[in-house]
Assembly symmetry: C2
């Protein structure tokens, strides 16, 4: 493909959506990627850049001059442009900004750079359509047409007062269905949801998805309209949030992808495995304390992986349900009630499983008492595991820590240790050693 | 609260957003909930109903007459109305539909009921703004105003031909910025993304989020425009999808919430725990085969939970990364390359962890050879676990099965068994028994 003529390639790429172009470029090596990026016509280049994987984009931008980068940023919405500038090396930032042709655009981008990436301010774009409450409809429509040129999707028209404070909105539907002779202050809807610039992205996502909003205005500390967040950015937030929780549950602590380097992947995984190692060493040490039982009741030691696995699985199940309940904010009732419910649930599951195990061990080893000891221990372990799995997420949540961290290796490890300890202690009592 | 006067309560509820009203009602018992629902004014009632938890809604609808339900459905968009009707008992459906006052609306709802819930047809709404390519702008604007009355959010204006086939779209922005004297066939954008009615919701979600779409038209088998899916429905699909994957990873097989009954929760959890039980029993049986080693090398048995936990954790980490990579469709390179990478990664992690363990065991038990045997086994187990964790999701994906089912108990269980087997086999060879 690389040896074909530029014109043919350019014509082919012109037919393809920029998200697909980005997918193709992600697969190429740095030189070919830069070559292709320069080939695409400018408006598409900038959109393609925003869709690229971060490391690929960094490599490509490294091969472009400040002037070339600025040319692409001029085509982008302020939020995407600010995101890209945020990734550039410090010495490039100043240069790129000074090369931006559209000075109004440059001002907006610089404004956005000031906000924390992990806040509503870091998500919002400056592009929006706003009208003054004191305007009449004629001025309003004229202004709106001018503003709409810069806005990819209009959604709502926001109404502000002379100080720039958000007063309400005009819906596009009203615009289509109302006569054009009405005054703004008479027709605007004074009720409008808005978020503060300092709000967390997850909270913005929760609000927008709860109220089915497609765009939400962002206001500063004194209520002035400073930007707007659209649902497509929120879809990304929701997906990232879900991926983070999923990875945490699997014991992967950083935002990594299958294609990251072995080193990055190791850093994300090793700490959790080390936690597991500690748990295993703890379990081994506990068993060392019961070593004397080995000669007569060696069979007890055969079931330690089973006990540990059960304790882990029950704990993870309980905590996963709690983590989701907390995230969706739909837990009802008291904590005590919840603990009792999880206990009953674990008891029910435990008794069913222990009965099966009792039957199997009895047939296998012929000793009813040993089998009974193992089974009763299993029931106790599942109940305790269920309680720990319920309690830890609640505890973390109360302390303001993301409970998602609890599911996975953390619960598994603590339940391994507790499980083995309970198992041998109860077995010891029942077998009368 | 329940003993206050109706008027006070009604006034209070009138101030609150329907999503918040729904949250309040979810907390109440059936009688109070029905009482409140009847108190709210009608337009809000219908919106509130769509936001309620499914079981609460069912209970409330059970207390309403077919005429009352039909009254609420008349206020709703076709997709929400069809969803609610789909939940009603069969004998009620006919009655409610015949009570619907708006016959056009009723026809649309009946149309929607025919589609599989788990398809684009089941997600779409009939409300949209469409214009014929042969109209002039004057007719077009007049028709659009009439149509817009029924559509909550306009998004795009779709252009169809005389047979109803989707030809393209008119953007709202064009409407604001173009002179009103142009002809439709001259101004419409012939490129428009659309999905087939039979497309899976996850695929629709993938397309809409990849191309940052806020609404997508749905066409039937011969290309006729039959409906429209908006991004708020897709946000729900994405969230449900993420919750399902998270629960599967935690060993919960059905869509349950923390507040579901103990019976529902048991059915969702017990099968996975049973799988874990089988794994544990398998591991115990394997250890039974190595029973003769117990007298001399009892310490080996102390580390079985550690080996099982490591095998499980490494497997879950590898599979989680694969599951996400497959879901996001961003895996590059060959399967062999991927397996080699996971093997190297597991080897690196395994060597680090085994070195720590070697040191600990040596100090604790004083036997270097036994410690070395345990550590070498641990490395082998992590490598095999990494390979299994990578391979199983790939295998399931190739066979058309959702790989998310692999992470969690499935991987943990198989890795427990393999881990213990490998551990004792290698230890046996090294210790020369």
């Amino acid at each position: 493909i690389e040896n074909q003529q530029d014109a043919t390639l350019a014509a082919m790429l012109a037919e393809v959506h920029y998200a697909d172009v980005a997918e193709i470029i992600n697969e190429l090596d740095e030189d070919s990627a830069t070559y292709l990026i320069k080939l695409i016509d400018s408006e598409k280049t900038s959109d393609t850049l925003t869709e690229l994987d971060e490391d690929v984009r960094e490599a490509i931008l490294g091969n472009l001059s400040a002037k070339e980068i600025a040319g692409e940023l001029d085509e982008l919405d302020t939020d995407d442009a600010a995101d890209i500038i945020g990734e550039l090396p410090k010495e490039m930032v100043q240069e790129v900004i000074s090369e931006l042709e559209d000075r109004e655009h440059a001002k907006d981008i610089v404004d956005l750079l000031r906000y924390d990436e992990n806040s509503a301010g870091g998500l919002m774009a400056k592009e929006l359509v706003k009208v003054n409450e004191n305007w009449n409809v004629l001025t309003c429509v004229k202004e709106m047409r001018a503003q709409a040129e810069n806005v990819t999707r209009v959604h709502s028209i926001y109404v502000i007062d002379d100080e720039g404070k958000l007063k309400g909105r005009l819906s596009l539907k009203d615009l289509l269905t109302t006569s054009t002779k009405t005054h703004i202050s008479e027709v605007y809807i004074p009720k409008v949801d808005a978020v503060n610039v300092n709000e967390k992205p997850e909270e913005v996502a929760r609000i927008m998805s709860k109220y089915d909003l497609e765009a939400i205005p962002v206001v500063d500390e004194i209520g002035r309209l400073v930007g707007r967040i659209t649902i497509d950015d929120i879809v990304d937030v929701i997906k990232e949030e879900a991926e983070k929780d999923y990875q945490l549950a699997a014991g992967i602590s950083q935002d990594v992808e299958a294609d990251d380097s072995i080193w990055d992947l190791t850093r994300a995984r090793l700490p959790w495995l080390f936690l597991g190692l500690l748990g295993g060493v703890g379990a081994a040490a506990i068993m060392g304390g019961f070593e004397t039982m080995m000669s007569q009741y060696g069979v007890l030691f055969f079931f330690t992986p089973l006990i540990a696995a059960m304790a882990g699985n029950v704990g993870v199940q309980s905590s996963a349900i709690m983590v989701q309940g907390l995230a969706n904010d739909d837990l009802k009732g008291s904590i005590t009630g919840r603990l009792i419910k999880e206990m009953l649930l674990a008891l029910l599951n435990g008794v069913v499983l222990a009965s099966i195990l009792l039957f199997f061990t009895w047939i296998w080893k012929g000793s009813f008492l040993t089998s009974l000891a193992i089974s009763i221990s299993l029931v106790s372990v599942t109940v305790v595991a269920g309680i720990i799995g319920t309690f830890i997420p609640l505890f973390l949540h109360k302390r303001g820590i993301d409970p998602a961290i609890a599911t996975g290796p953390f619960i598994t490890t603590s339940n391994d240790i507790f499980g083995i300890l309970i198992y041998f202690s109860i077995a010891k009592v029942i077998l009368g050693i």
